[in-house]
């Protein structure tokens, strides 16, 4: 096994490169993704190597990006759309929800829209309004879309390739505040050897309580588990990876063992992913639960001004506080 130390950003970049090499029908579309390499440089160098027809600098119109990608997909292309920031996806929302998600269904399976919509999401970078949002619930609520999020460089590298290879339309959420975090990537492995795209992953074993997270909050969950160990509590951490569909099996197994569950995400709690996880755990693991399922999330406010975001975002202390509350029942 040959590994390389890469940032999440670079792991995505090399993953996109491999996907483009593997299939000439893969085209990247987005604002500033060509010469500039994207505002986060995720597509850096790809236009130079693959040309302007395969890495397309588009007009500044998100509905146009996704809408034209639908047409390209009907013609047999596999478009990978970059939405520059989470808060800018909404102009494309109609195309994503009404067209991308439904065309396979509308055609009774005759049309496939093998599209990936990449969205840097979440806060923590000191940005202005509209640059720090967590819109996953909007998409996870829509039948016909799949929604995934990577949390580390190895997953970033392989999940983006799996998403592009999949015939399902996939919203691919990239934890933008983690783009610069480094980790080992097994670049020599093959795509076929990776765990399925929509499988959750058990990251850390523990017996006292279960923490479920995805994307940017996985780091927080792991740090909380490390800190809790010093207090003598053993926390199990599960990275959901896939938000739609949810891979609940590992969560049920863990909760049956620990009896306690805390779900962590940046998105507001109301009608969110945590609510769905809690409901399903209650249905399946009712007699195993020692405490109600707790959620540690962003608040039900608009994403606040950046000087407040450290208070808004779930952090290690808020997760540990929830663990304490869970043990209080």
């Amino acid at each position: 096994m040959a590994t390389e130390t890469l940032t999440i950003g670079k792991a995505l970049n090399t993953g996109l490169r491999k996907a483009m090499e593997a299939d000439p029908k893969v085209v990247l579309m987005g604002e500033d993704i060509g010469k500039l390499g994207g505002v986060f440089r995720i597509t850096d160098g790809l236009q130079k190597d693959f040309g302007e027809d395969r890495v397309i600098d588009t007009p500044l119109a998100e509905a146009g990006i996704v809408g034209t990608a639908v047409g390209l997909a009907i013609r047999g292309y596999r478009p990978v759309c970059e939405i520059q920031f989470d808060g800018f996806v909404y102009p494309a929302y109609d195309q994503i929800v009404c067209q991308v998600a439904k065309m396979h269904y509308r055609s009774q399976g005759k049309v496939r829209i093998p599209m990936v919509i990449r969205i840097p999401f979440g806060g923590g970078i000191g940005a202005v309004e509209h640059h720090s949002e967590s819109p996953e619930a909007y998409f996870a609520h829509t039948a016909g879309l799949k929604v995934v999020s990577c949390s580390n460089p190895n997953d970033a590298h392989w999940m983006i390739q799996q998403a592009i290879a999949s015939d399902d339309p996939i919203v691919f959420l990239e934890p933008k505040r983690r783009y610069w975090e480094k980790g080992e990537v097994d670049t020599s492995a093959s795509l076929a050897d990776q765990i399925p795209l929509h499988d959750a992953r058990l990251l850390r074993e523990g017996g006292d309580a279960t923490i479920v997270a995805y994307g940017p909050m996985v780091r927080v969950a792991i740090d909380a588990a490390t800190a809790a160990e010093e207090d003598g509590r053993s926390l199990e951490v599960i990275d959901l990876r896939s938000i739609s569909p949810l891979d609940m099996g590992p969560v049920y197994d863990s909760v049956r063992k620990t009896g306690r569950l805390i779900v962590v995400h940046e998105a507001p709690s109301n009608i969110g992913v945590g609510a769905e996880v809690a409901a399903r755990v209650t249905e399946e693991c009712f007699y195993s639960l020692e405490a109600p399922v707790l959620r540690v999330t962003g608040f039900d406010t608009p994403y606040p001004a950046s000087r407040l975001e450290e208070d808004f975002l779930p952090d290690l202390d808020r997760v540990l506080d929830a663990v304490d509350r869970s043990f209080g029942f």
Partner: protein
């Protein structure tokens, strides 16, 4: 009302004198007229075929309206009055061309050689389209206003990327939409994209004067075809009730596109003689005398006059076409009535190419639930 609105009110209902400038080759009275830029060169048989298309398309449309009135269709979007715009543009498509319709392009569908039963499942509610756009070179009906113009643009960009452009065998795309859709962001974005990517695309706007109840004046203060100039490609207005002019203008624009010369916006100036859909009541918003003035410009009557006058067709032919249309309508009716309802668990199929564990669970659970009624009449 703010100052300036006065200019936007409709001048009067006498459209016979308010006919705008447009490309016309066949007047409402059936006179063949020449145009400096556009012409057609049809054989007598081709003229007769165009007439047959117009009559059949209108007859099938009437049958579908009747089916809705009898409760056999949930809704119907009639094309009454727009037959020439659809037959002219539909016949102008070459075999390799791709069409992106709204939900009203039954005439274009017919001219593509597609069985007119195909979209009826959608209107009956037994499916939502269900056909393969690539098999028929005709996308599924799109109900969201204007959304398909972006799909057409992307598809046309793909033609450029595939290098299927530049000669007579090049491919072109036609995107259908209405006057109301010109206010949509998607349509304006499609104009931008098609222009800057020089996409082989014809934007075909059937200006039928109304977006449900709202008149054209609520969508625009300039003629629709003028908008193209601002986006950097040509716009042309054609008499959308003149099948010859519509054919000539569309054929020229498509050929221009397939040769690599980029998009064109065609405004086919026509009139929706019926309701927006069978759920609509146009008596609430039509201007008095308007329908009658447009009936004088009927798209079929003028062709019949022309054919008779030039002895291209006679009453025997016209009667045979009527009989053919009636037979096709009867056949359509029979097949609508015998369309099977889908089974309940079919709703779980084809949500995702690769399936979903959540849907598998729900399908299984719902099947078990249904089985508890086994043997009972619901």
């Amino acid at each position: 009302m703010a100052k300036g609105n006065e200019a936007r009110t409709r001048d009067d209902g006498d459209l016979a004198v308010a006919e705008p400038e447009f490309v016309q080759l066949l007047t409402p009275d059936g006179e063949r007229v020449e145009h400096p830029d556009y012409s057609v060169d049809f054989t007598d048989e081709e003229y007769r075929d165009l007439y047959r298309d117009l009559v059949v398309v209108r007859r099938l449309d009437a049958e579908s309206t009747a089916l809705q009135r009898q409760g056999e269709l949930g809704i119907w979007a009639s094309l009454l009055g727009q037959e020439a715009a659809q037959v002219g543009s539909g016949r102008a498509l070459r075999k390799q061309d791709m069409a992106f319709p709204t939900y009203r392009e039954h005439g274009v569908l017919y001219c593509r050689g597609i069985d007119p039963i195909m979209p009826l499942g959608l209107f009956r509610g037994v499916d939502q389209g269900g056909w393969d756009p690539n098999e028929f070179k005709f996308n599924m009906y799109t109900i969201v206003i204007g959304a398909q113009t972006l799909h057409a643009t992307g598809y046309a960009m793909g033609i450029n990327m595939d290098g299927k452009i530049g000669g007579d065998d090049g491919e072109a795309v036609i995107a259908y939409f209405g006057d109301g859709a010109t206010s949509q962001g998607d349509v304006n974005e499609a104009f931008v994209w098609a222009s800057v990517f020089n996409a082989p695309l014809v934007f075909f706007c059937q200006n039928n004067q109304y977006a449900i109840s709202e008149p054209l004046e609520r969508q625009t203060r300039v003629p629709i075809y003028h908008r193209a100039a601002g986006f950097g490609f040509p716009g042309v207005r054609v008499d959308g009730n003149d099948v010859l002019a519509t054919y000539a203008v569309t054929r020229a624009a498509l050929d221009n596109a397939r040769h690599g010369n980029g998009p064109t916006l065609i405004e086919a100036y026509t009139y929706r003689m019926g309701a927006h859909t069978t759920s609509d009541d146009p008596t609430r918003y039509r201007i008095a005398g308007e329908l009658e003035s447009w009936q004088a410009r009927d798209p079929i009557k003028r062709v019949r006059t022309f054919l008779a006058k030039h002895q291209i067709a006679d009453d025997t032919y016209f009667n045979e076409v009527e009989a053919d249309a009636a037979e096709q309508a009867t056949h359509l009716r029979e097949r609508v009535l015998s369309m099977p309802d889908p089974t309940p668990t079919q709703m779980f199929d084809n949500v995702y190419p690769n399936g979903s564990p959540l849907l598998d669970e729900q399908r299984e659970e719902f099947s078990r639930y249904l089985e508890t009624f086994a043997g009972e009449a619901h």
